[in-house]
């Protein structure tokens, strides 16, 4: 399950650190292990302008958040959501889903993690923070 790509992202995470300005922030925790992530999201003209994050956790949760920033930054909200759906589908597929590299890029490296149910939550921690932050930005826009 520890693909080189995962270890690379773990050792050299992309986009790490909390940055200003941001529209919404989400704090997510995995209650079974205590891993946590704080993620900030800046949306400009319907596009993900910046995703910044800080957290503590295993290689899987850290690397997957790093991959997340690559996959969603600069994309429209719809594109980001559709990528997220593809990643969640891959992670919940117990190893039976064939990932599309055009959509998930480095995210395909997590296909092996899907075979370890206990680690799926780790891989999704940052993505859940992204989803939550996105919901908060739309709430604020509506408000």
């Amino acid at each position: 399950m520890y693909q080189e790509i995962i270890l690379d992202h773990y050792k050299n995470p992309h986009g790490r650190g909390l940055r200003e300005p941001y529209d919404a922030e989400s704090f997510q925790v995995n209650p079974t292990c205590g891993d946590e992530v704080t993620l900030r999201l800046k949306v400009t003209d319907g596009k993900v302008a910046d995703v910044s994050y800080e957290g503590q956790g295993c290689s899987i949760s850290q690397a997957s958040t790093s991959v997340l920033t690559d996959l969603v930054t600069g994309h429209t909200i719809d594109e980001a959501l559709s990528t997220m759906d593809a990643f969640v589908e891959l992670m919940q597929g117990r190893g039976s889903v064939e990932p599309d590299e055009d959509v998930l890029e480095d995210g395909v490296a997590f296909a092996g993690v899907a075979k370890y149910p206990a680690r799926v939550k780790c891989a999704l921690l940052g993505w859940m923070a992204f989803k939550d932050a996105l919901a908060r930005t739309s709430n604020e826009v509506e408000a």
């Binding site: 292990c33 290689s59 899987i60 680690r119």
Partner: protein, 428 residues
């Protein structure tokens, strides 16, 4: 009754292992299973599995109701198990309440205490309210923390706690300020499920007695591993779980001194626990039935009785001596690895066979994953003791727990596995 005269001879691990079919299976592409997670749940010997099956095949019936032969035999098996288990921990059968698990036992006491305010005469000593204090420790399992937080929230009482020293022992320096005339309950773990620390029951009981507080002992990690006698420890209440001592899940024990169980109001009410029921109101059966509402778990209780027989036949002294060897080997082996830090006492004094540690540069999840790939089952995370981890400034640990069926070679496998994890993540 099996006698335990041969307690001085070392435990025959190979013979013990032969009783546990699961230990001979392989995992992760043919690796022999190295099971070092008995602190979470233990494996069961054929003697326990057979006892459960025999009960179900020969005399299964609802206990304490019905007058047919099966009901009689089932009740005898259930109460026979209770007597054996009570004897195992220095109690009488009337002092031993069957629960679902230890967590339920602690909740039973906490909820009985909130029920005390509106209960019949005699329950006054269980009433807690504003100005009263409950004292726990920072090393508690959530099961011995959250129920007391909730009791305080329901009643207005205040929760206080003993801190833990850097070495992973209870810091008793503030005992006179923590346990005072305001203290109603002192609840603590006999042995920490993370640190392995065996806490000084005598010092805490003595102080609690001085101020008239009740003492509840979480014995989940002690009763399965060394000889424990609740009467000699002089605690008021104690809990433990069957599944951590070779028995089925779904069966736990609450011990309470007889006079306390008689005075304490019930938690769950309904069938089985009554004396007389009228539409206007009811009276309750004497303990332990007063605390066992509904048809109880029966084959599980019989299984726990069989587990006690199994442990008695080996002798708890020998189990403890064997585990002492294992933990000594583990501490020595892990201490030799640069970058590994043991979370808990570094020596084997007043310490059980639980070893938690962190590896610099390798997150516990990742260390656990590498160990798993080698067939070694450990626990990773905060082990239901989140505040303890927070007080140590770490999010999680790797935890290896040993039991009577573990071999020294399995300890070596763990130590080698940790080195392998370091190599894999490039930190060694």
């Amino acid at each position: 009754m099996t006698t335990t005269t041969a307690n001085t001879t070392p435990l025959d691990v190979a013979a013990v292992r032969a009783d546990f079919p699961i230990l001979s299976r392989t995992v992760r592409d043919g690796k022999p299973l190295v099971y070092l997670d008995s602190g979470a749940t233990s494996q069961r010997p054929v003697q326990v599995l057979d006892a459960e099956r025999r009960f179900l095949e020969t005399c299964n019936a609802a206990v304490h109701r019905g007058a047919h032969q099966l009901a009689e035999e089932a009740t005898d098996a259930y109460e026979g198990a209770r007597a054996k288990i009570a004897d195992f921990v220095g109690a009488t059968p009337g002092e031993l309440v069957f629960t679902k698990n230890a967590t339920e036992g602690i909740n039973l006491v906490a909820y009985a205490m909130s029920n005390a305010a509106t209960a019949d005469d005699g329950a006054e000593r269980f009433v807690v309210g504003p100005g009263d204090e409950i004292v726990v420790t920072e090393m508690e399992h959530h099961a011995n923390l959250v129920p007391w937080q909730q009791l305080c929230q329901r009643t207005g009482a205040t929760l206080r706690w003993f801190p833990v020293t850097a070495e992973g022992r209870l810091d008793l320096s503030g005992i006179d300020e923590l346990i005072t005339e305001r203290t109603k309950v002192v609840a603590f773990a006999h042995q920490s499920n993370v640190l392995g620390t065996v806490n000084p029951v005598d010092a805490l009981v003595r102080k609690a007695r001085e101020v008239g507080a009740l003492v509840l002992l979480d014995a989940c990690q002690s009763v399965p591993h060394f000889p424990v006698n609740f009467r000699e420890l002089d605690v008021d209440f104690a809990v433990f779980s069957g599944h951590k001592m070779l028995a089925p899940s779904g069966i736990g024990v609450l011990y309470g001194r007889r006079e306390l169980l008689e005075a304490m109001p019930p938690f769950l009410t309904g069938g089985s626990m009554i004396e007389l029921v009228r539409m206007e109101g009811s009276t309750f059966a004497p303990p332990p039935q007063k605390f066992e509402a509904g048809v109880p778990m029966t084959s599980q209780a019989v299984g726990l009785g069989a587990a006690v027989d199994y442990l008695n036949a080996i002798g708890m002294d020998r189990v403890a001596a064997h585990e002492h060897q294992l933990v000594e080997r583990a501490l020595n082996g892990l201490k030799e690895i640069p970058g590994v830090r043991i979370i808990g006492p570094p020596d084997t004094v007043d310490r059980g066979a639980t070893v938690a540690f962190v590896v610099d540069g390798v997150h516990p999840h990742d260390a656990g994953q590498v160990l798993d790939s080698l067939g070694i089952a450990v626990r990773v995370g905060h082990h239901c003791a989140w505040p303890l981890h927070r007080s140590c400034g770490i999010p999680a640990t790797v935890r290896a727990t040993f039991y009577l069926y573990n071999e020294l070679s399995e300890v070596d496998a763990l130590v080698n596995g940790v080195r392998e994890a370091q190599r894999f993540f490039g930190v060694a």
